[in-house]
Symmetry: none
Subunit: 244 residues, 2 copies
DNA sequence: ATGTTTTAAGCTTTATTTAAGGTTTTATTG
DNA sequence: CAATAAAACCTTAAATAAAGCTTAAAACAT
């Protein structure tokens, strides 16, 4: 999932980030309220984790603004134990769940999962698939024609992104944000190189699918010049002429 | 077992915690009613020990809420001797057993054991196993090919965790919580070192299994880079193709 | 004093990014 | 309408960085 974490205690933030990333999520961290607010106006995260006490703006203000602008992602609010009375006002403001610090990771993960289930993108399905490709983010595997393949973390998340919304074109900027967790510091070439190795692994895999004898490996990940990449979900119909 | 202990008298709590940990359980302690309530909504403990008098919420309220939300773990309620009349209302509210303070530790252990036997995770099978590895949490032994092995406490609990849910990937953060009882203060390296010694002991053991002559010790505990560890339950099928 | 756990250090393996040179497509211009 | 230039993209290998492993020694606990 694509998660925004707004938390100014840097140490807590980074340990939460790590825990979530270990679970296979992509986490964007913001320490500043104002910045976070803008970010939430612009991106459709699967879940937002929002600290209630922040520099520049408090969590409630931010959340109210988001809801006023019809941002619908689920929000999990974090409060200090001493601020428990904020719970009600937070839920009124449109939070979907709340948690007080300190908390256990198992608990956080479970809540994130619960919220994500509500979220549009994650609807129920643990595994996503297109044609002979299946991917289970929770269990950390990808299968091509039923055979497990190992991908590196970045390749894995990238494929997951494309699989979840086949036919959708993702720009490099979007990919940077949703795979690397930040649109900055990621060069185009980094993305190109990752796409390249991912394609290689996929087409090697196809070659080993004897049952479905491909004349040539279908191009699963298409390049849309000047725009980005997309997953071609027609890969089931192999005998088609793939020329335009 | 994974136990939640809800008790506001800190001294009592920590001595009970210690006692249970010596028995090989993983104990999470909460002193606050409200926090504990949330914790119980989210985690599937094997047993919960719940004090009846608590700050912020009383035990009965908490338990009723849990049961209303279909939380099925067994709950052992603790009451002060003077509150013995609460016994009936407590059992009505869904407690599985009760005990009045002060109590003997032996008695507590016996009751925990009894409850644990009922618990979903431990259901009827006292021992968990995968291939030639068997582990009995209650009797505190591990056998590899029928031969008893001694493991240190942390190694033991870690193996138990992995064995109970083979194929599931546990992240370092999760392991920290479920083996050490807290996701904080446990460094990666601590976990790595424990995994390392555990693996060594397991593979030494395999080498002594003449009957099942392994070409090389199968890798029972797999590392999923960037994600965590998991137990490979295919260890029975030794002639498997281990290629990816 | 003994067994256990944690830390520290050096090491190995794997992943990611960069860099360089190559294609292909699109745009420009003689 | 070529020819050429420019941009976007691809590929591979090398360099860098990160994650994990192992061992011994220090710290902790019983």
């Amino acid at each position: 999932m694509w998660i925004l974490l707004v938390e100014d205690e840097k140490q807590l933030a980074s340990s939460v980030q790590r825990g979530l990333e270990e679970e296979g999520h992509v986490v964007e961290v913001m320490h500043d309220g104002e910045q976070a607010e803008l970010q939430g106006l612009v991106n459709d995260y699967d879940v937002v984790i929002l600290d209630w006490r922040l520099p520049n703006r408090d969590g409630k203000q931010i959340l109210e603004h988001w809801r006023a602008e019809d941002r619908t992602f689920p929000v999990l609010m974090l409060t200090a134990l001493s601020d428990l009375d904020h719970k009600v006002s937070g839920l009124d403001a449109g939070a979907d769940d709340y948690m007080s610090k300190p908390f256990s990771f198992e608990e956080l993960l479970a809540r994130i999962r619960a919220l994500g289930r509500r979220s549009s993108e994650m609807t129920n399905t643990e595994t996503v698939s297109a044609g002979p490709i299946e991917l289970d983010a929770r269990k950390h595997w990808v299968k091509v024609c039923g055979i497990k393949r190992s991908l590196r973390p970045k390749e894995f998340i990238l494929l997951e992104l494309l699989l979840k919304e086949p036919e959708t074109v993702f720009s490099k900027t979007q990919i940077a944000e949703r795979v690397w967790g930040s649109p900055y510091y990621v060069s185009d070439n980094t993305i190109e190189a990752t796409i390249s190795t991912l394609r290689q692994k996929l087409s090697e895999s196809f070659e080993e699918c004897k049952e479905m004898s491909f004349e040539q490996s279908p191009k699963v990940i298409e390049t849309i010049r000047g725009a980005g990449y997309r997953l071609n979900s027609d890969i089931v119909n192999i005998e088609q002429d793939t020329r335009e």
